[in-house]
Amino acid sequence: MSPYDQKQGLAFELYDSFKSADLSYVYHGQFTQKITDLIIMLAEINMNRTGESAKIKKRVFSIMVESLQNITRHQDPDDEYQGFFAIEQKEGNYFITTVNLIHNANIAHVEGLLKKIKSLTPEELKIYYKSVLLENELSSKGGAGLGLIEIARKSNNNVSYHFHPINNDYSYFYFHTCITPQEEGEVPNDTDLVQIDNIFLLHQLLRQNGVQIIFNGLFNQESLINLLNIIENQMAGLGRLKRVVFNLMVEMLQNIVKHGIKASDKDGNQGIFFINRKNSQYILNTGNYILINAKKPLIEKIEYVNSLNHEQLNDYYNSCLFDFQIDNSKESGLGLIELRMKSNNKLEYGFHPVDDEKLFFTFKVTVDSQEL
C-alpha cells in the first residue's frame, strides 16, 4: 500500500471502529477551560437532539465534568503525552473514557482507591464518599480521589481502569465509565466494560497518527459550529494557519451537511471528521455516505480542480464566483476550488462500498504550515 492508500484507510478504519456507536466524540490534545466547556456543550447538543432523558443527561454531565477536571489537573506540562477524552453512545448507554498521565509513584494509591470503590455497594459508596470528604483525604493536586468516587456513584459503580507504562516516571491512566438507564443499585453488566480495550487501541491509533481531534456522529450546522469553536480554541495564536484550517473545515463539514446522506432518520448526516498532524502538515479528513450515482460527477469535479495550476484555478474561481447558473441553497460550485487553492495541495479521496445504494466517501485535504 502506498502512503496515500494507508491514509485513506485511516479515515475508514477509524469510522469502522466507531461503527457500532450511535455517536462518538473523541478529543485528543491540550485541554483548556474553554475547550472543556465546548466539549460539554457539544455533548449537550447531541443529547438534546437524540431526546435523552433529563436523568441520564444529568449523570452524563456530572461524570463529564469530573473526568474533564481529572484530565486538566493531570496534564503533561510539555504537551508530549496529551490528554484524551471520549464519549460514546450506544443503544442508550453512554461510555466515557479519559486518559491522562499519572506518576508511577501514585499508581498504587489510585489503584487501591479504585479497588476499594469497586468493592463497595451503592450505600457503602455513599458513606465512603462522606467519610473521604470529612477526612479530607485529598491528593496533593486536590480532589482527585473524591472525583473518582463521585464518578463511581453516578455510574452505579460501572467503572474500569488500566495503567499503561510510558517510562520510568509516568504511565497513562485509562479510566472508563458506563452510564446506563438502569436503576441505581442494579448489577452492572460486565460486558459493557470490555470497551476499554477498544479505547486503548483507539488511543494508540490516534497517537501514532497524530490525530488531534476526532468527531464521529451526526453532522449538522449546530455540531459544525461547535467543532469550529473547538478548533479555533485549540489553534489560538497560530495566525494564518488557524484561519486556513478554519476555512477548509467549514467547506469540508458543510459538504457533509449538504451532500452527505442520512443513514437514519436522525437530524443530521452520519460521518466522521478528524485532523491529524504530520510534522508541519495539518491533514483534514472527512468520511461520509454518498449515493452511488454521485460518485462519477464527484470524481470528475475533484480531478478537474486537481489538474489545474495556480493561475488556472484562480481564473476558474473567478468565473464560478459570478456564474449564477449554479446558485441555489445546496451549492455555489466554489467549495472544491477553494479547498484546492487554500490548501495549495491536491485533494485526495477514496470510496468504500457499503451497499447497493450508497458508498462511504473519504476525503482528505492537506495544508503545510511552512508554506503559509
Binding site: 450546522q221 484561519r243 476555512n247 467547506e251 441553497s329 455555489s332 466554489l334 467549495g335
Partner: protein, 134 residues
C-alpha cells in the same frame, strides 16, 4: 424607508441597512448552511432602495470570515450595487494580517469595477484605522 436590521448570530453576520445612517453595514462571520436564503431579504431591500437611492451609498464590509456559499451571494450583492444609478463606495475592512480577506476584497474590486477602499484593522484595539487606497 424601513430599515433592515439583522442581528449577528454565530454563523451569520450583522446586517444594518438604514438610510438614516451614513453607511450600510455587513459585519461578522458568514457561514450559514443556506446563504442563498439568508441574503434574500437584503437583496429585496436593496432592489427597493435602488428606486430612490442617496446620491452616494457607502457600504461597509467588515467580515471576519465567510464561506464559499456566502461569497456567491456577495457577488450577487456587488452586481446589484454595480447597477445602481447613483454613486456607490465600498469600504472593505480586513484584519491587518488577514491577507486572504484583503485578497478577497481585491478580487471583487477587480471583477466588478466598483469603487473599493481597503481598510486594515490594527491588531491592538485602536480607533486609528490605516486607510490604503487600492
Amino acid at each position: 424607508m424601513k430599515p433592515l436590521i439583522i442581528n449577528a448570530k454565530e454563523d451569520t453576520p450583522k446586517i444594518v441597512l438604514d438610510t438614516d445612517l451614513d453607511e450600510f453595514i455587513i459585519s461578522g462571520r458568514s457561514l450559514p448552511e443556506d446563504a442563498h436564503d439568508f441574503y434574500k431579504p437584503l437583496f429585496e431591500w436593496l432592489l427597493e432602495y435602488v428606486k430612490k437611492p442617496k446620491p452616494v451609498t457607502t457600504f461597509r464590509f467588515e467580515l471576519e470570515y465567510y464561506n464559499t456559499s456566502s461569497s456567491k451571494q456577495l457577488s450577487k450583492l456587488f452586481l446589484i450595487l454595480k447597477e445602481f444609478p447613483a454613486k456607490v463606495r465600498i469600504l472593505w475592512y480586513y484584519h491587518h494580517d488577514d491577507i486572504d480577506m484583503l485578497e478577497n476584497g481585491k478580487r471583487y474590486a477587480k471583477l466588478t469595477g466598483l469603487d473599493f477602499t481597503m481598510i486594515s484593522i490594527p491588531a491592538v484595539e485602536d480607533d486609528s484605522f490605516e486607510i490604503v487606497i487600492n
